[in-house]
């Protein structure tokens, strides 16, 4: 009997899963059976008569949730496996839960702390031992934060940004280790200054990327818009003003400064002491390669395998070992979006004549 068929088709229609054909079939069926059509119509009205869901107070709920997340209260019962609960719950498992909840608490503390300092509701943070604010990312993770003045900071993996409690009162000063992209809120009365190991960058209101990892040979500033003024720590009389789409690369080794002029040294393979170049776009209209990491794209822009290895270590939180010096200077270019480590290594290896092994958190690259 077609009756059953009608119900099946009607269900598909109501669930939003019917194909065009099925809808047509249902329509035909209902036209042939007016009695069924009547029932179908009333069921459809009933199905669709959903009152709008009451808008819940999510702030309240979410805050309570965060509280539980940081308290670790949730660990008392629910996560245990169903069978044999009692026998297996002691010892290590409980320690794991405690450790996990402490870690979670720490994360939440940082996040809440930031949220609170942004809104300015917390004149004296709950952790008086720390005289300022510091946010770090581990290898393998990135973070985005907002400074009290509204400035947006994307913090790449293995990086740290810190600022004092008086941030924003007269000036806005932050200290950066690693890589970050800044979108600075314009405020001429309170200059924004970024301190790195090698350079200081003074900003009025602009977006740019700073890369200053201690384990790398260079510090890079790429300006996307606005203007920045860079001072070299090693010789404070040298000030360089960048225009949009310019990039300044400074060697982290300052010994060269005692020598003569500080302009581009075009010796391939050795980083120039200080070079002014253009921000790089892989193709026209694309966004600058220097800020692609903020879009979760892993970019190698003519980088040697040793540089690639450093990036992989930070990006995926692994240790990369290259065996064989001849491999280290081969250059790679490529953009990876959301690929996992194996996919990236596989692609690199296709063009690189090397083999790799991944063992836990270790990657070994050999000829």
């Amino acid at each position: 009997m077609d009756n059953e068929k009608m119900w099946q088709l009607l269900i598909l229609k109501l669930s939003g899963e019917a194909s065009g054909e099925e809808l047509a079939e249902l329509e035909l069926l209902l036209r042939q059976h007016p009695d069924l059509a009547q029932q179908a119509a009333s069921v459809e009205s009933i199905w669709k008569s959903k009152g709008a869901p009451a808008p819940a107070d999510t702030d309240h709920l979410f805050n309570r949730h965060l509280q539980r997340l940081s308290d670790g209260t949730a660990d008392n019962t629910p996560f245990q496996p169903i069978p044999d609960v009692r026998r297996r719950t002691s010892g290590t498992q409980r320690i794991f839960f405690i450790a996990a909840s402490l870690a979670a608490a720490a994360v939440i503390a940082i996040v809440l702390f930031n949220a609170l300092s942004v809104s300015g509701n917390l004149p004296n943070p709950a952790t008086p031992a720390v005289s300022g604010n510091s946010v770090s990312t581990k290898n393998g993770s990135k973070s985005k934060l907002q400074l009290p003045d509204g400035t947006q900071v994307w913090l790449n993996s293995g990086s740290n940004i810190s600022y004092e409690n008086d941030f924003g009162s007269a000036s806005r000063q932050v200290r950066l280790i690693g890589e970050a992209f800044f979108d600075v809120v314009k405020d001429p009365s309170r200059p924004f200054v970024i301190h790195t190991a090698t350079i200081d960058i003074k900003v009025l209101g602009t977006a740019f990327n700073v890369r200053s990892y201690p384990e790398e040979k260079i510090t890079e500033t790429a300006l996307i818009r606005g203007a920045v003024e860079i001072t070299l720590k090693a010789s404070t009389d040298k000030k360089i003003v960048l225009k949009p789409n310019e990039k300044l690369v400074v060697s982290n080794d300052s010994s060269w400064l005692s020598k003569d002029s500080a302009h581009a040294v075009n010796v391939p393979k050795k980083p120039a002491v200080m070079t002014l170049t253009q921000v790089h776009h892989l193709d026209k209209d694309s966004i600058a390669t220097e800020m692609l990491w903020t879009k979760n794209k892993l970019v190698f822009d003519g980088e040697t395998l040793s540089e690639v290895a450093l990036k992989l270590e930070r990006w995926y939180g692994v240790k990369v070992i290259i065996i064989g010096d001849e491999l280290k200077n081969i250059e790679y270019t490529g953009v990876f979006s959301d690929d996992n480590l194996t996919e990236v290594l596989y692609a690199l290896q296709l063009s690189g004549n090397f083999k790799y092994v991944i063992r836990r958190n270790e990657v070994i690259i050999r000829p």
């Binding site: 269900i11 029932q39 959903k50 709008a52 709920l61 996560f79 985005k144």
Partner: protein, 196 residues
């Protein structure tokens, strides 16, 4: 943007950037339906709320592995289901219990729509019909109608086949149709057969 797309996007942000705003976004998008789901099993608002919170705690803890999860909605529902079943069977001697042996609360919502098709009397009748559905059938109906889940998703969450999902929906809808028949507006009543 479609809800599923939005969820996938937030999922990626949480996984790659530890993005707390995206995490909050996921919470806002899903906590209410997860709450209803859990509540229909647990029948306690406090406990259901705790379970939803536990689901999101779990989500935060494993955030760095989230990229490996194909359908986050299914994943979260599955955790919610397991935690809910765990909770009510915690004191049972043999805790492995299927959803079908648990009495399920009716959380379906019928409202006087704009056409005022649903009178209070009809709504009461429909609710009564849903109350008499078998537990799993009730859950399936609610997941598809109230939460808008795909049959495939419901099948994955409850560990049953898509065909079962569809057949259970047919059972539910037939019951509802039968309950509604007595009170269908008189204008169109002529064409109705005397009984179901």
């Amino acid at each position: 943007m479609e809800k599923r797309e939005l969820i996938a996007q937030l999922q990626r942000k949480v996984a790659l950037c530890d993005d707390m705003t995206a995490y909050r976004g996921l919470y806002d998008l899903l906590h209410q339906e997860l709450f209803l789901f859990s509540y229909s099993i647990i029948k306690s608002r406090e406990v259901a709320e705790e379970i939803v919170s536990d689901v999101f705690i779990k989500l935060w803890r494993i955030r760095n592995e989230l990229l490996a999860i194909g359908n986050l909605t299914v994943f979260l529902y599955t955790i919610a289901k397991n935690l809910s079943i765990n909770h009510i069977t915690r004191n049972y001697k043999y805790p492995k219990v299927s959803l079908d042996s648990i009495e399920v609360e009716n959380v379906a919502n019928f409202d006087n729509g704009e056409e005022l098709f649903i009178t209070a009397e009809l709504a009461r009748r429909i609710q009564k019909a849903i109350d008499t559905l078998p537990p799993q059938c009730k859950i399936i109906f609610q997941l598809v109608r109230e939460s808008g889940l795909k049959h495939k998703e419901v099948a994955a969450i409850l560990n049953i086949s898509e065909l079962t999902v569809r057949n259970q929906l047919v059972i539910a809808v037939k019951k509802i149709a039968a309950s509604a028949q007595l009170s269908i507006p008189p204008v169109r009543n002529r064409t109705l057969p005397p009984t179901a």
